[in-house]
């Protein structure tokens, strides 16, 4: 079906301004946060009600038109990359907070509500929504659910999947179902867990009920300064072995420290090989005791210096460098490519050494920021897309790093999702029978495979192509590494 004809069908039930069909206006939707991949869709539709979403989905189902749902478009894995023969279903106009249930500590919102807006709406009650991906000012809760978004406080407060109670979902048949409830136990299979992180492939999320937590009485941040990333990694293990679960524990390596310091002047030690930022929260009494314990562990583990943020302003300053790490790297390089592997924490030293070796081999600089508590590593590869071939080199280096993560017992994506970006690596992490199980599950929801086709789970053909390129006679990659 051509663009004009399809547009007319949508305009039968959507207001004219809710159907975008002009190529110039469509340009705004041709990519998400992963701008290396671009594709113009046939149309973009912006429904404002659940009934309109149902009508959109039913129409697409009838004419077999692929649907890519989209929230704020901040995905870092190309999850919202349009399909050439499909529509983009934007939930951005469904952005109302529907209900705040103070006594049950829940908020029910439309999918286009921004992550941070939820916490802002309940701040006066002393409550907040815990998951805080670094894009929280912009990203939408619907997208957070689709990607199972994380953030810096996951070790203590969990991912999106731990903080969602109920979803309203439109199925590919245009039917509306409720998954989960405000109760903590529900009959049947855990479809809620299945929907969270399903990358828009099982249904369209049209309403989200989140859990709200009491704001901690206080939060304090300690900085530990180290001569090596291994020492910093050991210190993290020691803190956790001591029975402490910090609210957040983040590590940056020297290139990341320097980039951040140049950008925000957080007074970071630019000669350090690694810094740890450890946030402790809870009651005043608890936090004062934990700060003492963490400080002495950092010292025992060889920190050259430990600093406790003296007040709220200094705490914000300590965090500003970490939070600005991505844009800071953006300042020192024309482009950067963010990787999202997760590794068992104990493998951090060897993994970072191997990344450094690969960085030299490919002649591409890498800065590392690390959610150290939960093993989620974000190497940022610095490159220049105007130099022919450098993006391809960068992607190859990124792929090597992800294979390394699998090799040491980790995963190719901790919080950014597979999208279009990591399809090749999924062929390595999962065997054919496992991938087929994913495909069968998907078909249980969407037999015609119209919802976000081509994402998250690679086809057999895609993997055959990938394996032909990357596997040589069953050779084990990285033979020089210890096996964990």
């Amino acid at each position: 079906m051509d663009r004009h004809e399809l547009s007319r069908l949508f305009k039968d039930f959507l207001p004219g301004e809710a159907v975008i069909d002009h190529p110039v206006s469509l340009k705004a939707y041709e990519c998400d946060g992963l701008s290396a991949y671009k594709q113009q869709p046939l149309l973009v539709v912006l429904p404002q009600t659940i009934t309109q979403v149902q009508a959109c989905v039913s129409l697409c189902s009838e004419y077999q038109i692929p649907i890519v749902s989209r929230g704020a478009g901040t995905s870092l894995s190309g999850g919202a990359l349009p399909h050439a023969q499909g529509i983009v279903l934007s939930l951005a106009k469904m952005n109302r907070i529907l209900d705040i249930d103070e006594y049950n500590r829940t908020a029910t919102v439309e999918p286009g509500v921004r992550n941070l807006a939820i916490s802002q709406a309940v701040e006066h009650l002393g409550l907040y929504y815990a998951p805080d991906p670094s894009s929280q000012i912009a990203c939408s809760i619907g997208g957070n659910v689709a990607e199972n978004a994380g953030g810096v406080h996951c070790l203590k407060y969990g991912l999106t999947v731990h903080n969602i109670l109920e979803l309203k979902v439109v199925t590919i048949d245009g039917e509306l179902i409720t998954i989960g409830s405000k109760a903590l136990a529900n009959p049947g299979y855990d479809l809620l867990a299945l929907m969270v992180g399903s990358e828009g492939m099982l249904g369209i999320i049209v309403e989200v009920t989140v859990k709200l937590l009491p704001q901690p009485e206080t939060a304090k941040v300690l900085m530990g300064v180290f001569d090596s990333v291994e020492q910093a990694g050991d210190a993290v293990a020691a803190i956790i072995a001591d029975g402490i679960i910090p609210a957040g524990i983040e590590m940056m390596d020297n290139p990341a420290i320097r980039a951040a310091e140049d950008f925000v002047h957080a007074n970071y030690p630019v000669d350090a090989q690694a810094i740890l930022l450890c946030e402790l929260d809870g009651t005043e009494q608890e936090v004062s005791v934990l700060c003492q314990r963490v400080k002495s562990i950092l010292n025992q583990r060889g920190a050259n210096e430990t600093r406790l943020a003296k007040n709220e302003a200094e705490r914000a300053l300590f965090w500003s460098g970490r939070k600005a790490a991505f844009p800071a790297v953006g300042r020192i390089s024309p482009d950067y490519y963010c990787i999202d592997g997760t590794i068992p924490r104990k493998t951090l030293g060897p993994v970072l050494n191997e990344i450094n070796r690969l960085s030299e081999q490919y002649q591409l600089r890498v800065a590392n920021v690390f959610h150290a508590g939960d093993g989620n590593l974000h190497p940022l590869i610095l490159y220049d897309s105007s130099i022919p071939g450098q993006l391809e080199q960068t992607e190859e280096l990124g792929s090597k790093i992800l294979q390394l993560c699998i090799e040491v017992g980790g995963t190719v994506t901790g919080e950014h999702g597979v999208g279009v970006e990591k399809l090749g690596e999924m062929c390595i992490q999962f065997n054919e029978e496992e991938r087929n199980q994913f495909h069968r599950l998907r078909e249980a929801f969407d037999p015609d495979k119209l919802l976000n086709p081509g994402k998250a789970i690679p086809t057999l053909a895609r993997c055959a192509e990938h394996n032909a390129m990357h596997v040589h006679k069953g050779e084990v990659p990285f033979p020089e590494l210890d096996r964990f």
């Binding site: 999947v161 731990h162 409830s181 029975g243 104990k346 992490q429 029978e433 199980q437 249980a444 929801f445």
Partner: protein, 354 residues
């Protein structure tokens, strides 16, 4: 002794597929009372046992499904760690696989999370007789659909669990319980939910027979300071109470073989106040012992705001879990079909048509 029975389990599943005979998956046989009446040939998973990997500083343990849950808890305790969901309804024979498949969580659920919140990865045999791994041993992992959590509470209808990786928690430095008199359960529910909105280290709550109990866990000074704020009478023998509550060893549960569970939003008020009831999870989980006592929840169950489980006793050939709406039931059947097209694995254990 080799405790790896994977090959034999796969062979038995394949045999059942070719014979088109149902399998009844059994670990320690401590939860055969739960769900609908089991049918089919017993597949004994208890021989597939042993801890595969445990690194205290990684906060992760991986064990075979037949491992006794006692053994896992003992090993964790030696390293000052524990299972954060407090596995419920366990005895000395209970296995890890059974705990995951039944998905029953204990008193800590409202503050720390349920079984599903702690699972990181699984290895299963599906209904094709294939051994598959999903998830992993790391905290954050969004590669592929979340088949690990899907297994929790699926009562063995989607796969035979072979191995499970779970996140563990440090044992709190201090735990204290305080008691309060609340004649009316609604007062207790209001009290629990007001406390739960405060930034205090609550780890469990329960109300029965006019008495509320609140457990606090954390650093000693944090717990003591909280008790100064909330008051109540300190209960020095509470550890056994919380264990008895989770395993249904309290008098209220032992004197009957008919138990119903109501799961609902924690702050929801009761319209009538049955003489015998036990309330926990700040009101999110409520136990009843008489058919008439749950009638007041019927309209909420029909609206989907609450669910009712015929937990123990009664007619177990009838449906025992709240009815699913037709679209959800169709999705459940499609999912079952995606894992187990021949309906070999625990057929009918959860719902008749599953």
């Amino acid at each position: 002794m080799d405790n790896n029975a994977e090959r034999s389990l796969v062979e038995q599943v394949l045999k059942s597929i070719s014979d088109k005979r149902a399998i009844n998956i059994v670990g320690g046989d401590s939860k055969s009372f739960y769900g609908r009446t089991p049918c089919g040939n017993v597949l004994d998973v208890s021989k597939h046992a042993g801890v595969v990997n445990y690194e205290p500083s990684e906060l992760v343990i991986t064990a075979r499904a037949g491992t006794h849950i006692n053994e896992i808890e003992k090993l964790l305790a030696e390293n000052q760690q524990m299972l954060g969901f407090e596995p419920a309804f366990c005895n000395q024979y209970s296995t890890l696989g059974g705990v995951i498949a039944a998905g029953l969580s204990g008193p800590r659920t409202a503050s720390s999370g349920a079984v599903r919140d702690f699972i990181l990865g699984v290895k299963i045999i599906n209904g094709y007789g294939q051994v598959l791994r999903f998830g992993g041993q790391v905290m954050k992992n969004v590669a592929g659909f979340d088949h690990s959590r899907l297994m929790v509470g699926s009562l063995g209808t989607l796969g035979v669990l072979l191995e499970v990786s779970m996140r563990v928690m440090p044992i709190p430095e201090t735990e204290m319980t305080v008691s309060f008199e609340h004649e009316d359960a609604n007062n207790a529910i209001e009290f629990f939910n007001k406390l739960a909105a405060k930034p205090w280290p609550l780890s469990a709550s329960a109300w029965l027979q006019g008495q509320s109990k609140i457990r606090l866990s954390g650093t000693e000074n944090g717990v003591v300071e909280t008790i100064k704020n909330i008051g109540g009478e300190q209960d020095d023998n509470a550890d056994q109470f919380w264990i008895d509550l989770k395993n249904h060893d309290l008098q209220q549960f032992k004197q009957t073989d008919f138990i119903q569970r109501v799961s609902m939003p924690s702050a929801a008020e009761l319209s009538t106040n049955p003489a015998e009831q036990v309330i926990e999870w700040n009101g999110g989980q409520r136990w009843y012992f008489d058919q008439d006592d749950v009638k007041q929840f019927q309209s909420q169950v029909e609206l989907g705001n609450a669910s009712l489980t015929q937990f123990r006793g009664g007619d177990r050939n009838a449906e025992v879990f709240s009815k699913l709406d037709p679209v959800s039931m169709r999705l459940h059947q499609n999912i079952k079909n995606a894992f187990d097209p021949d309906r070999i694995l625990n057929p009918g254990r959860m719902y008749k048509d599953l």
